[in-house]
């Protein structure tokens, strides 16, 4: 087995004490930046590049890989405890995870996120090790028509977060779609809904909207209902650790999340958000406790967190096998390759086997380190919630503001954050769900651009969506997913069991 030999060689590189130290520094740093909203792994690696210029390339990449995986872990912590997603892929985690925390199950939510991330990260790294060439061939089959069909499928997932009223949920979705339209249209270069404000020409950042709606909006709402003297600290109910039932409900979700996240992450335009949406939807549909969704269901944390981490490994597939960066972090990693005079691309595996396999081996090691680092910390993190509320709320607002400003040093983004935060407060006050806004904001531009690209290539022939087999299949699945529940209910009503 050539691959096994190469991988063992990689472990030999990664397991030297210096490289283990770099991996440890990387995962620690990664966890820290993942916790801060806005400041993600891409920015961190970019800022570290000059510092690492004199480091051996293998050591530098092992550290970068640690930062990359570490940030995925860290992002879930603030989502769950403070309802403040660190990056757009942990938004879904915030939806269900924070509700769990408010029920006193913050410890289990953190644990299932950490273990799920470990399981998904490890399985996806195994898939990266053995199936990268296969996966990349599949991923390249996705053209505009296929991506459009995938986004249609992903739109179905909004039904899982609509909340009690379909009308309100759809209103939220359309608000997200409208926000996604803001800025310069990529295909024509014309500005839309920017009202002559130059800062709006680049569009509205998902992270700003997410932090505004979730963290700021939620905090304002909670503060508005706060009464002096009635400070009630969220109690930690039951064991800090996951119960047997929670284990039983988590493990399948982890595996399904991995299966969804890895291939989509490997697609050049797949992204990290869509797999988390899809995983959440799948878990809600398959769960034996669908009524708990929207009230803190553990599957709703386990699945999306696994999907998020698996997609992070998926992103490395096109990066290592083709030299294609498909996320901001991957683009910076690619820049790092070039800094060391390495030509990333189809020839990297042949020319630099030591580096590539050392990097892959360090992903396994980094995952273990992250689990070891994160699980004992769960006990520390959950104590955050025992901070008196006024201090906690103020802290969240400071945190959200710092992170947003750190994202691109824009005062305009801060004004936007406050505006969207106030909007989030009103939505919460009048019982509009906020998650559909994010789904609209992420999927709107993707589906629109891919739809128009597909039609540009086919010169207006609408049948492309049906003549491409993958596209047709995905659209068929979407129709089934939309219609099946209604048919199911109808059948049940007329044929009582």
């Amino acid at each position: 087995m050539e691959t096994i030999d190469a991988l063992l060689g990689g472990f030999a590189v990664a397991l030297t004490w210096q490289n283990l130290l770099w991996a440890l520094i990387g995962v620690t740093l990664g966890t820290a930046v993942g916790v801060l909203p806005g400041i993600g792994p891409a920015l961190t690696v970019a800022l570290l590049l000059p510092v690492t210029a004199k480091l051996a390339s293998t050591s530098a990449f092992i550290m970068f890989a640690g930062i990359y995986y570490g940030a995925m872990y860290g992002g879930s912590t603030t989502s769950i405890l403070l309802n403040t997603p660190g990056e757009s892929a942990s938004i879904i985690t915030a939806v269900e995870g924070h509700l769990m925390a408010r029920k006193g199950r913050g410890g289990s939510a953190l644990a299932t996120a950490a273990i799920g991330s470990f399981v998904a990260g490890t399985l996806a790294t195994i898939a990266l090790t053995f199936f990268a060439p296969l996966v990349v061939d599949l991923a390249l089959q996705f053209g505009p028509a296929e991506y459009f069909a995938l986004s249609v499928l992903a739109f179905i997932t909004v039904t899982a977060v609509l909340g009690s009223s379909i009308a309100r949920g759809l209103a939220s979705l359309f608000l997200g779609l409208a926000l996604g339209m803001v800025g310069i249209d990529m295909q024509t270069g014309q500005s839309r809904l920017a009202f002559g404000v130059p800062s709006l020409l680049d569009g509205i950042e998902v992270v700003v909207v997410a932090v505004g709606l979730f963290a700021v909006g939620e905090t304002l709402y909670a503060a508005s209902r706060y009464k002096y003297g009635a400070d009630q600290i969220i109690p930690l109910k039951g064991s800090l650790w996951m119960t047997a039932e929670e284990w039983a409900r988590s493990w399948k979700a982890w595996l399904r999340g991995t299966f969804i996240g890895f291939p989509i992450g490997a697609m050049p335009a797949g992204g990290a958000e869509i797999p988390t949406f899809l995983s959440y939807y799948v878990e809600k549909r398959l769960s034996k406790h669908p009524e708990e969704f929207g009230k803190g269901a553990i599957e709703g944390v386990a699945g999306p967190e696994a999907a998020n981490n698996a997609s992070a490994a998926g992103v490395l597939v096109p990066l290592l096998s083709l030299g294609l960066p498909t996320s901001a972090t991957a683009a910076i990693l690619l820049a790092a390759f070039q800094q060391y005079g390495l030509q990333p691309g189809p020839l990297l595996f042949q020319n630099e086997p030591q580096l590539v396999w050392g990097l892959i081996a360090s992903l396994y090691i980094g995952n273990v380190m992250l689990l070891v680092l994160n699980l004992p910390l769960v006990g520390v993190w959950v104590r955050l919630l025992t901070i008196p509320r006024p201090l906690l709320y103020a802290g969240i607002l400071v945190f959200a503001t710092l992170g947003t400003y750190g994202y691109r040093q824009s005062e305009f983004d801060l004004a936007l954050l406050i505006g969207i935060g106030f909007l989030g407060f009103l939505m919460r006050r009048f019982d509009f769900p906020v998650a559909p806004v994010i789904i609209g904001l992420v999927l709107g531009p993707l589906s629109e651009q891919q739809f128009r690209r597909a039609l540009a290539i086919s010169q207006g022939d609408m049948t492309v969506f049906l003549t491409h087999p993958i596209s047709a299949l995905l659209l068929a699945v979407s129709v089934v997913a939309l219609v099946a529940p209604a048919v199911w209910r109808w059948r049940k009503r007329f044929r009582p069991a």
Binding site: L49, M186, G189, S199, P268, P325, A328, Q343, Q409, A456
Partner: protein, 328 residues
Amino acid sequence: MSLVISRTARTAGRVASAACVAAALTIGSAAHAVDNLKILVPANPGGGWDQTGRAMQQVLQGAGLVKSIQVDNKGGAGGTIGLAQFVNSAKGDGNAIIVSGLVMVGAIITNKSPVNLTQVTPIARLTGEFEVIAVPANSPLKSMDDLVTAWKKDPGKMAWAGGSAGGTDHITVGLLAKAVGIDATKINYVAHSGGGEAVAQLLGGHLPVGVNGYAEFQAQIEAGKLRALGISSPKRLPGVNVPTFIEQNIKVEIANWRGVFGAPGITAAQKKDLSDTIDKMVKTPAWKEILKKNSWADFYLTSDEYAKYVTEENTRVTAILKDIGLVK
């Protein structure tokens, strides 16, 4: 959004390696024409402008040409947000410069920017990157001739994969169409957010032809997965076995150039000090090393020539953007 990648972000790190080179130079040189310098990069960290600004910082400080340098990023709207800030706040400041380039010329036109490059003081053009046309390895198109023949036969069918609408890639296609006599409004241009995305679409065979900066396609061309048909440089590049457009009888030459401007309303003496400092910088071995590492062509032009060049580029780009229908 995480999917949006600056097409030049991939080269971000190359600059950093220059730090060692710069540090190795002896620090000396008594008199400073410019004591301290503020470089405004009108883009977020990672892209080509950012690399240019930070490379200048390293070389100028490393060679002892300027004592202290501060680099600030103010990104957005193709650089026009940074330009507006520069025009408004740096007026008369002889110690401030802004990084700019072809992309900003286009953005000023398409965004109807209230400020433009005639309001700032041209100091020097510095670097250029050339555009390459490539097709998937299994494409029947072997040369620019084949491409032009197929393109003329059915312009709509020739869907081009490239970067954002109105950017350097799109302008290149516009210039090619004009040069070979194809109606520019018939161009079927499909814009992508980053080099990686356009490359993936080409490799998957979803589009017949792609246009991008050479660095974006380089790895795939060298691995034989994409076939380069032509490059926009005036002469063949050393170490790059791709014929130019010109040698294939298409009179198109274009580079994604970058340069620097001084503040509005600076005195002739201040302008000379800045120009002299940059002139010394481009002659250092450290700068030459940076050009080589990034595959940037040496595009140095001094102040007056640069001013003329910018005016010409503005005319040329405006005409092309009108031809392709992006600007009325």
